[in-house]
Symmetry: C3
């Protein structure tokens, strides 16, 4: 059973974040809020998102797992303004989710969740922890897109660096320690990532928000940030690419 | 003979409205103003438009029938600002229409009107008459476009409804009697229309303008609204689609 | 050797102007400033640009010829704001140019300039000299693009005219002597030009800037304007098309 009301802009954030990884996902509405986990089809990237019931205007739910095509919610939200209130309703054993905003009622089918994996999130103990503004990550991605299809991320005693090269072209974004919000680094680290995946994740970050980046040599990169006034939490994991010698 | 001057934005409205139905049309400039009638090539939709001489800054005309390619006027208007004054001139037996705005003079060929039908507008006595804001119709169309290629329009004791469905997806826009500008309904009615045609017609409506909608079960829908400060009148007719059982 | 600092918007102007003619060009950094010359691959249009050292924030250079792919500078500049300071650095015998803005460092390969011609600019003594606002030229081009792929430019006792026609369609922009900034004309002249080339050149002009147009019957048209607060000079030449009888 689910009966909830939420600002359109918060629901839009949820959809945008998850869409960077998958097209269809299992929404888990529990008594204390919503949670989602997803791995991309190639098993390179993972997202974990939670949204406390406090992020909703009204919230009442009990063990409701709903498989949803995200583009349908996306299209529905385009009929609303960011500050509109959206209601979500699902009656147990019904095969449709009902969304309402203003004078509009949209019903969409519940997808079979049998094929949707419930990924287990690996516990990683990464040696580098950096807090950085989203806009720096976005600038680094934008600069790299002109150059190559991969991006190296490194942390050393100077600070944080994003680097791409291909043949004789190269571009580097350097953020000094003083420009970072925080840095805890026990060693120098450099890892390589697929730029398209990294770029997708970074797009869903608010540019003035602080992102926590965790990094280890040839380990996945972990990005964490909050949304919905701190009531929402996002964690992305992206596997490294092996650097060709 | 034609010699007229008009605000660019009013001429643009005329072109936009007619273009929803045809690409080429016969402009009838009579002593008391302009009138146009057109049916789309598939004979599904019809438009009738009249613009009184009072809508013009200057107007002098006598029995002038001019076949015009609408995209040429459209392109010419893109060289102007909405508040610019445009002049239209045609000398009898000349094969070109002359348009002027600012420092620009454009001449365009008069098309042969022999092949342009002069459709006779059917007299319909429809049981439902609703006055509704253009923006509601536009929202209903936008919502339906995500779902299906047809739209059902119905009026019942609750009010006015636009509804689309395909498989398990559906969307409904409900405008209660109180939200309508006016309603006169002697029976419940529901008719189905092709969404692309309906959408085109609705696009040319000003969102804050009142549209008169007339409806009868499995009859054409009639939409009427005015423009140019009440000096212009538009009537669209759209044939219904037969609902599959 | 080159070590220079310049406002991003001035460097962007240089790139935009040259890109209307070629994709790759030889930058000549001399002690007193930058100069560029280029002919398009079909040898129909030519550009000559100079930028005095006073246009730079800092400037130090000596006999540095650098072959550069303009789209790479263009992409780099998209990472900056117009008012950002960009530095350009090249060490003799190095095969890369180094650009910096904010936290970003981009390196791009120097192209072989052996195949880049150093066109000699013809000395033309043209009978017509008109000074006109860029926006008039832009309006004339926009109007003509709907009609034909060529444009006639003429000057006579009434003033300046841009004219296009194809079959029965025609469009004319007339700028009277009073609307021109200046006119010196010893005879009436009319020449025809390829619209795509002319349009490209005109796009790089600031609409409120005065352009000097020099014209002679069936001679190339010469366009001149300055930028960078008068420290930059641009000259375009465009060969005429032969009018079919």
């Amino acid at each position: 059973m689910l009966k909830a009301e939420i600002k359109a802009e918060i629901l839009r954030d949820v959809v945008e974040i998850i869409q960077t990884i998958v097209d269809e996902v299992k929404f888990n509405f529990e008594e204390d809020g919503l949670s989602l986990k997803a791995v991309d089809p190639a098993h390179v990237a993972m997202v974990e998102l939670s949204l406390k019931k406090e992020a909703f205007i009204n919230y009442e739910a009990k063990d409701t797992e709903l498989g949803i095509a995200l583009n349908k919610i996306d299209q529905f939200l385009k009929l609303s303004s960011p500050s509109d209130n959206v209601t979500l309703e699902h009656v147990d054993d019904e095969n449709r989710l009902v969304l309402k905003v203003n004078n509009i009622t949209q019903k969409m089918p519940i997808l079979d969740t049998a094929g949707m994996t419930d990924p287990s999130v690996p516990q990683l103990d990464l040696p580098i922890n950096v807090k950085i503004l989203g806009k720096h990550l976005q600038t680094g991605v934008k600069a790299s897109q002109n150059i190559a299809d991969h991006i190296a991320i490194s942390v050393n005693k100077e600070g944080f660096e994003m680097f791409s090269e291909e043949d004789e072209d190269s571009v580097k974004l350097s953020i000094s320690k003083e420009e970072l919000e925080e840095i805890a680094a026990s060693e120098d680290v450099r890892s390589l990532f697929a730029l398209d995946y990294f770029s997708n994740m970074i797009k869903s970050v608010d540019s003035n928000k602080v992102v926590t980046v965790e990094l280890g040599k040839d380990y996945p990169i972990k990005l964490q940030f909050d949304f919905a006034d701190g009531n929402g939490q996002v964690m992305f994991l992206l596997a490294p690419r092996i650097e060709s010698a």
